[in-house]
C-alpha cells in the first residue's frame, strides 16, 4: 500500500516537472487524502461506513484495516467526514495548498478562518454513539416520590391527621376544625350517584324503611 502511494507521489512530481517545461496546456496536479478510522475492537464493522469529502463530492470506502485513501483530489479546502449509522465521528477540514502540502484542522462553521490544527494523516476515532430514540416514560413508584406535588399531598395528609392532636384544645379552634371537617362531610343536598343508581335500577324497597 505504502509503496503504491510513494510511487504515485513520485509520478506526480515527475509529471509536474515535465509538464511545466514542455506543454502549454494547464495541468493541475491531483492529490490523495489519507486517513484511518479507529473503531472499538468489539465493533469492527466497517461495512456501513462511508467517507464523504464535501458532502459527496468524493466518496471513500474503508480498507480492511480501517485506513482509507481518497485520490484524485485537486488542491483546495475540503470537509472530510466519516459517516456511519452507529457511530459519530467529528468531521475534519483538510486544506491542500497549490504545492500539495496537506494540513488538517477542526471544522468551525461559525468562524471559518479559525485554525485549530489536527493530525494528518487523518485519524477518526469514535466520538460518541448517536441516540436516535427518546427514552420511553415508564411508570415507576420512585417517580411518584420524586414528584413535588406528591410531597405536598403527603404533607397535607400528615398535617390533617396529626394537627388536631397537636393543637391545644381551644374552644374556637375546635369549632373551626369542625367546620373544616364539615367540608368533607357529604352534602345531603348533593345528588348521590349510588342513590341515583338505586332509584334507576329499582333496588329492593325494603332497604328504605331499614335506613329510616
Amino acid at each position: 500500500m505504502s509503496i503504491a502511494i510513494v510511487c504515485c507521489l513520485f509520478y506526480s512530481i515527475l509529471i509536474i516537472i515535465t509538464t511545466s517545461s514542455t506543454t502549454s496546456t494547464n495541468r493541475a496536479p491531483l492529490y490523495t487524502i489519507e486517513g484511518q478510522i479507529v473503531l472499538p475492537p468489539d465493533e469492527n464493522n466497517l461495512g456501513d461506513i462511508r467517507i464523504l469529502v464535501d458532502d459527496g463530492l468524493y466518496v471513500g470506502i474503508p480498507h480492511v484495516d480501517g485506513t482509507f485513501t481518497i485520490s484524485g483530489v485537486p488542491s483546495g479546502s475540503y470537509i472530510v467526514s466519516v459517516n456511519s449509522p452507529i457511530h459519530i465521528f467529528e468531521p475534519v477540514r483538510v486544506d491542500i495548498n497549490k504545492k500539495g502540502k496537506i494540513r488538517a484542522r477542526a471544522v468551525n462553521f461559525i468562524e471559518p478562518g479559525k485554525v485549530t490544527i489536527k493530525k494528518y494523516p487523518l485519524r477518526f476515532e469514535v466520538h460518541s454513539k448517536p441516540n436516535y430514540f427518546q427514552k420511553r416514560e415508564v411508570y415507576r413508584v420512585t417517580d411518584l416520590f420524586s414528584n413535588p406535588l406528591f410531597l405536598q399531598a403527603t404533607l397535607l395528609v400528615v398535617s390533617l391527621l396529626f394537627l388536631p392532636k397537636l393543637m391545644p384544645q381551644g374552644e374556637d379552634l375546635q369549632g373551626a376544625l369542625q367546620q373544616t371537617n364539615g367540608l368533607f362531610q357529604p352534602n345531603p343536598n348533593m345528588p348521590d350517584i349510588t342513590d341515583w343508581f338505586i332509584r334507576l335500577f329499582g333496588a329492593p324497597t325494603r332497604q328504605r324503611p331499614a335506613r329510616n
Binding site: 504515485c8 509536474i16 509538464t19 494547464n26 496536479p29 461495512g47 470506502i61 480492511v64 485520490s71
Partner: protein, 898 residues
C-alpha cells in the same frame, strides 16, 4: 443483498468499466480518472488509485470527454486506461505502473486504445488532415517507442460511435460496409491492412461478443434487422486475423451473449429475445462454422417488461445463468437447467428513478360506505327508512360475519387481510402511493407495508423537461371521496420516438387498470403546459387543460371551458419562455354561455430576466393549509400573515460584472407579475432547495466564501391590520413586510420539504435529506425569521427562541434511525385523518416512508397506553363506591340507634 457501496452522484462516481478478477473487481469510474478495487467478500476497498493530474483548461469541459479502458489480453493483471489526454496503467494489485500525457488539440483526439504483449497503442485522429496517428508506448514504462500514421476515410465526428477496437483491430462501419483495420503489433512490420465486409444494408451496431488473444466473435446489426456473427481467428505467428461468418439464424430483436468456461468443451452462445411477457433463449455450442447442440428455453415473465437492454450469459460451476436488464429497469437472473428455465431473481430497479409521486386515500369499507349512505336522502320519511334499512343491514352483516367466524374459523383469514389492506383505516393513515419512474414504469405502493400492489409499464415513455430536471405530470382526476365511483389518476408524457406527441394515460390507482375512455395517444396540438381544471365536470371527474405552442388552451376530454373553470373567479396562467428567460402571465376570459372547448390566451404581464438564467421554480404544495391568519404577539396584538396563494419562488443564477457568481431568489405573484421578494446571494452555489408554505419561504444553498451550507428563512406579513379578512386578492394594494434571517446548517442538503397536516393547526417541521444518509426533522420555529437577537420577556411570552446562527441538529430528530438512505432526490408529504400526523415519503436511490408528529401526539393515546388498568380501576371504583355506600349506611344507622 450482501453489501452495497454507493458512489458519488456526480461524474466522478459514474462507472466506466468493471474488470472482474477472482477475489475482487477493479472499477474504473469518473471517465477513466479513478480506479478502485473492491473485494467480493465484504465490499471493502483493497486499493484506490487516481490520475495524478487533471486538465484545467476550462474550454475543454464543453467537449464531451472520452475514455477507454482495456485489460491487456496478454497480461491480464494490467489495465490500461485512456482518459482524454491521459494514458495510465495500473496493475490488478494496486500499483500505478506509469502515467503519461498525450497532448490533444481541438483537431486531434485520442480515440482508440489497443494493447499487445509489448506495447500500448493509441490511435489519435487528426481531423485536419484526416490521418490516424498510431503511437506505440512501451507497456513496461510508458515510453513512446515509435509512431506511424495512416489515412482515415471515415467521418471524424462520429468515428467513436461507429468504431470498436478488438485486440489489434479497429472495426469501423461506414454505411453498409465494415472495415477491419489491422494495426501492426511489432516494429518490424509496419503494414496496415484494411479489409471489408459487406452487409445488406446500413450497419447500425457492431458489438464485440467475445475477445481473447487468439479468437474473437463480433456481431453486426444492420438497420433492416439483419444480424450477422463473425468469428475471428488469429493467424499463427503474425498479427493478422482470419474471419468467417457463423451460420446462425436470428430474430431481429434478439440479443446475443457468449460464455466460456474451463469445464465447457467449447464456447456457448446464447440468443435471447423478448416477446410480450415471454423470454426465449437458444443455447448452442460454437463449432468451426456452425452451431451445434442447440437447446431452447423459454420463461414466462410476471409482467410486461419491454425489450432486453442488456444481456450477460455466464456459466458458474456448471450452472448456466443469464442476467438481463430490461427496458423497464428490471434486473432478472434466470437459471437454465435441464428441466427448463427458471426465474430466480427479479428486482424492480426502476424504483430508484422515481420522478413523480402522488398519494391516494384508500377506499371506504362497505360498512363505512353504508354509514355514508345512511345520512343521504332527502325528506323526513326517506331519511328515516334509509336509516332503518342500513342499520338492519349492518346488523345482518354483523351476524353473517359471526357465523362465518364460527363455521370457517381462520381459513379465509389471508383473503380477509388482503381485502383489509385496501380499505381505509379509521384515521386514514394508510394510503396508496402512485409513483412514476423515468423509464416509464408506474407503481402502486401500499404505504403500510411498502408492498407493490400493481405495476404498469408504458414502453414509449419519455418525461417532459422542466427547467434542469425531468418531470411527469400526475393528476388526481377523481379523488377517493366519491365512494360510488372509483378514483382515477392521469399521467401525461411524451413519446420516446417523436417528442412532440403527447400521451395521456388514465388509470384506477387501486388496481392500475387503464380507463380507456380517458386514454389517448393523439392530441392534435403540441403541448407546452398541462394543468388540472378547478371544477369537476362529469361524474366528479376533473379534466386536463393543455396550453399548446400557439398559446391556445384546450381541454381533454373536450368539454366547454366554462364548465371546467370557474366563471366567477378569473383565471390567470403563467408560462415560462426559455429563449427569452421570461415569465409571461396570461388572462383567460370565459363567457358563461360559451361552449368553446379551446380559446386563445391574452398576455397581461411579462417578467424577463437579463444577465441571469432561471434555473428552477418552486410552487407551494397544493395541500398547503393556513389555519390562522395571524400571529398573536407578546403584547396581545396580532401580526397578520401575508398568505398569497399565487406566489411562486424563482431561482436564477448568473455572473456579475466583477466575475462573481450569484444566485437570486424571487417571489413572483403569478396573477399580477409583481415581485414580492428578491434576495441576492453572492459567491453562492446552487442547487437551491426551497420550501414555500403559508407566508414563509425557507431555502438552502452552499456558500462558497465561507464554505458551508446555509439556509435563509423569510416571512411575509401584512402588518398590524388585515386588508381584507375574508378573501385574498393579488390585486389588493398590500406591500408585504418581509423579515429574514440566515442560518448555518450542519450538513449539506439533498432535498427539503415541509410537513403537511389536514387543517394546518399542527406546527410545521422541515424534513431535510442530507448527503450522509439522514432524514432530519427540524421544527420550523428554529428557522423562524422573527427569532430575536436578545430575548425580551414579550418574545418569551410569544414562545420565540433566541437567535443563534447555527441550527443544532439532535440525533433524536433523525427520523430514519439506523436505516440511512442515500441520494434522496425528493420528499413527498401528505396529511392524514389525524391532525397531529403527517406522512413522509422520501425517494431517490433509496425509498423511505414514515409518519411524523410535528407537535407530538396530541390527538392519540400513546402506544403503550394501558387499557386494562384504566378499565379495571374504573370497575373497581364503581364496585368500591357501592360497598362503601353500604358500609356508610350501616354506620349511620348504628349512629342513629345510639
Amino acid at each position: 443483498m450482501r453489501w452495497r457501496k454507493v458512489f458519488e452522484t456526480n461524474e466522478y462516481g459514474k462507472i466506466d468499466r468493471i474488470i472482474w478478477y477472482d477475489q475482487e473487481s477493479v472499477i474504473i469510474s469518473g471517465q477513466g480518472r479513478r480506479a478502485r478495487s473492491l473485494r467480493y467478500a465484504d465490499g471493502l476497498e483493497v486499493w484506490q488509485l487516481a490520475a495524478t493530474t487533471t486538465n484545467t483548461n476550462s474550454n475543454q469541459d464543453t467537449v464531451a470527454k472520452h475514455c477507454q479502458v482495456i485489460k491487456n489480453r496478454y497480461d491480464p493483471g494490467t489495465i490500461h486506461i485512456l482518459s482524454d489526454d491521459l494514458l495510465w496503467s495500473v496493475s490488478s494489485y494496486g500499483e500505478m505502473l506509469w502515467s503519461i500525457e498525450i497532448p490533444i488539440k481541438s483537431t486531434l483526439k485520442n480515440l482508440f486504445l489497443l494493447s499487445t504483449s509489448q506495447y500500448v497503442i493509441v490511435g489519435s485522429l487528426d481531423s485536419n488532415s484526416n490521418q490516424l496517428q498510431v503511437t506505440y508506448y512501451s507497456k513496461q514504462d510508458g515510453q513512446q517507442a515509435f509512431s506511424s500514421s495512416l489515412p482515415w476515410s471515415f467521418n471524424a465526428k462520429d468515428s467513436l460511435n461507429k468504431c470498436s477496437t478488438m485486440n489489434n483491430l479497429i472495426l469501423c462501419s461506414n454505411n453498409d460496409e465494415l472495415s477491419i483495420i489491422t494495426i501492426p503489433t511489432t516494429t518490424d512490420d509496419t503494414n496496415v491492412k484494411t479489409r471489408h465486409i459487406k452487409a445488406s444494408s446500413k450497419i447500425e451496431q457492431i458489438r464485440i461478443l467475445y475477445e481473447s488473444t487468439t479468437r474473437s466473435v463480433i456481431l453486426i446489426k444492420s438497420d433492416n434487422g439483419e444480424t450477422k456473427i463473425y468469428q475471428f481467428n488469429k493467424k499463427e505467428s503474425t498479427s493478422e486475423w482470419d474471419f468467417n461468418e457463423l451460420n446462425i439464424q436470428m430474430k431481429s430483436n434478439s440479443f446475443i451473449s457468449i460464455a466460456t468456461d474451463k469445464n465447457l468443451a467449447g464456447q456457448q452462445i446464447l440468443e435471447a429475445s423478448a416477446n410480450d411477457q415471454k423470454l426465449n433463449f437458444h443455447v448452442s455450442t460454437i463449432n468451426e462454422q456452425t452451431l451445434t447442440n442447440t437447446r431452447s428455453y423459454s420463461v414466462e415473465l410476471p409482467e410486461n417488461m419491454g425489450e432486453i437492454e442488456y444481456l450477460a450469459y455466464s456459466v458458474v460451476k456448471n450452472t448456466q445463468l443469464v442476467t438481463l436488464r430490461m427496458q423497464d429497469g428490471s434486473l432478472l437472473v434466470i437459471k437454465l437447467a435441464d428441466n427448463g428455465a427458471e426465474l430466480i431473481l427479479h428486482r424492480d430497479e426502476a424504483l430508484s428513478s422515481i420522478i413523480s409521486v402522488e398519494t391516494f386515500d384508500l377506499s371506504l369499507s362497505i360498512t363505512q360506505m353504508r354509514i355514508e349512505e345512511e345520512f343521504g336522502g332527502t325528506g323526513m320519511f326517506s331519511m328515516f327508512t334509509k336509516r332503518i334499512s342500513s342499520q338492519v343491514s349492518q346488523l345482518i352483516s354483523f351476524f353473517l360475519r359471526l357465523m362465518d367466524l364460527f363455521t370457517h374459523g381462520n381459513r379465509n383469514r389471508d383473503y380477509l387481510d388482503k381485502q383489509a389492506a385496501l380499505v381505509r383505516d379509521e384515521f386514514n393513515l394508510n394510503k396508496i402511493l402512485i409513483v412514476v419512474t423515468s423509464v416509464g414504469k408506474v407503481f402502486g405502493i401500499l404505504t403500510q407495508s411498502g408492498g407493490i400492489l400493481w405495476k404498469n409499464f408504458f414502453p414509449n415513455f419519455a418525461p417532459f423537461e422542466h427547467f434542469n430536471a425531468v418531470h411527469v405530470p400526475l393528476f388526481h382526476i377523481r379523488s377517493a371521496a366519491h365512494y360510488t365511483h372509483e378514483p382515477l389518476a392521469s399521467i401525461v408524457y411524451r413519446d420516446r420516438n417523436s417528442l412532440h406527441d403527447t400521451h395521456i394515460r388514465t388509470f384506477n390507482p387501486y388496481t392500475g387498470d387503464l380507463e380507456n375512455n380517458l386514454t389517448t395517444s393523439s392530441l392534435p396540438y403540441h403541448v407546452k403546459r398541462v394543468f388540472l381544471s378547478t371544477q369537476a365536470v362529469d361524474e366528479f371527474c376533473k379534466v386536463l387543460l393543455f396550453v399548446d405552442t400557439n398559446n391556445k388552451i384546450h381541454t381533454y376530454p373536450p368539454v366547454p371551458l366554462s364548465r371546467a373553470l370557474s366563471t366567477t373567479i378569473p383565471t390567470y396562467i403563467y408560462l415560462f419562455d426559455k429563449s427569452e428567460q421570461a415569465f409571461v402571465g396570461y388572462y383567460l376570459s370565459i363567457d358563461e354561455n360559451d361552449q368553446k372547448t379551446s380559446t386563445n390566451l391574452k398576455e397581461v404581464w411579462r417578467v424577463s430576466f437579463q444577465n441571469e438564467e432561471v434555473i428552477n421554480i418552486h410552487t407551494r404544495l397544493s395541500s398547503d393549509r393556513v389555519h390562522s391568519a395571524g400571529i398573536v404577539l407578546g403584547d396581545r396584538s396580532v401580526l397578520y400573515k401575508y398568505t398569497n396563494p399565487n406566489l411562486i419562488a424563482v431561482v436564477t443564477e448568473g455572473i456579475d460584472y466583477q466575475k462573481v457568481p450569484f444566485v437570486n431568489i424571487y417571489l413572483l405573484d403569478t396573477v399580477t407579475g409583481s415581485l414580492k421578494l428578491s434576495h441576492t446571494h453572492k459567491r453562492v452555489k446552487s442547487p437551491v432547495h426551497i420550501v414555500l408554505s403559508e407566508n414563509w419561504i425557507v431555502y438552502t444553498y452552499y456558500n462558497q466564501r465561507y464554505r458551508r451550507y446555509e439556509a435563509v428563512s423569510s416571512s411575509l406579513f401584512e402588518g398590524e391590520a388585515q386588508y381584507n379578512y375574508s378573501t385574498f386578492s393579488s390585486f389588493d394594494p398590500i406591500e408585504p413586510v418581509i423579515q429574514s434571517k440566515a442560518y448555518i446548517l450542519p450538513y449539506g442538503v439533498n432535498a427539503i420539504q415541509v410537513t403537511t397536516t389536514e387543517k394546518g393547526i399542527t406546527s410545521r417541521d422541515i424534513i431535510m435529506a442530507t448527503p450522509n444518509g439522514m432524514l432530519i426533522e427540524i421544527p420550523w420555529i428554529l428557522f423562524d425569521p422573527r427569532r430575536p437577537l436578545d430575548l425580551t420577556p414579550m418574545d418569551r411570552e410569544e414562545g420565540l427562541i433566541m437567535y443563534t446562527p447555527e441550527i443544532m441538529v439532535n440525533f433524536e430528530s433523525v427520523i430514519n434511525y439506523y436505516k440511512y438512505v442515500y441520494n434522496i432526490r425528493g420528499i413527498h408529504t401528505v396529511a392524514t385523518g389525524l391532525e397531529s400526523t403527517s406522512i413522509v415519503f422520501a425517494y431517490g436511490l433509496d425509498l423511505f416512508f414514515t409518519r411524523v408528529f410535528p407537535s407530538r401526539i396530541f390527538d392519540q393515546l400513546k402506544d403503550d397506553f394501558d387499557f386494562m388498568i384504566i378499565g379495571w380501576s374504573t370497575v373497581a371504583f364503581v364496585v368500591g363506591s357501592f360497598v362503601a355506600k353500604r358500609f356508610a349506611s350501616i354506620h349511620q344507622t348504628k349512629k342513629a340507634w345510639k
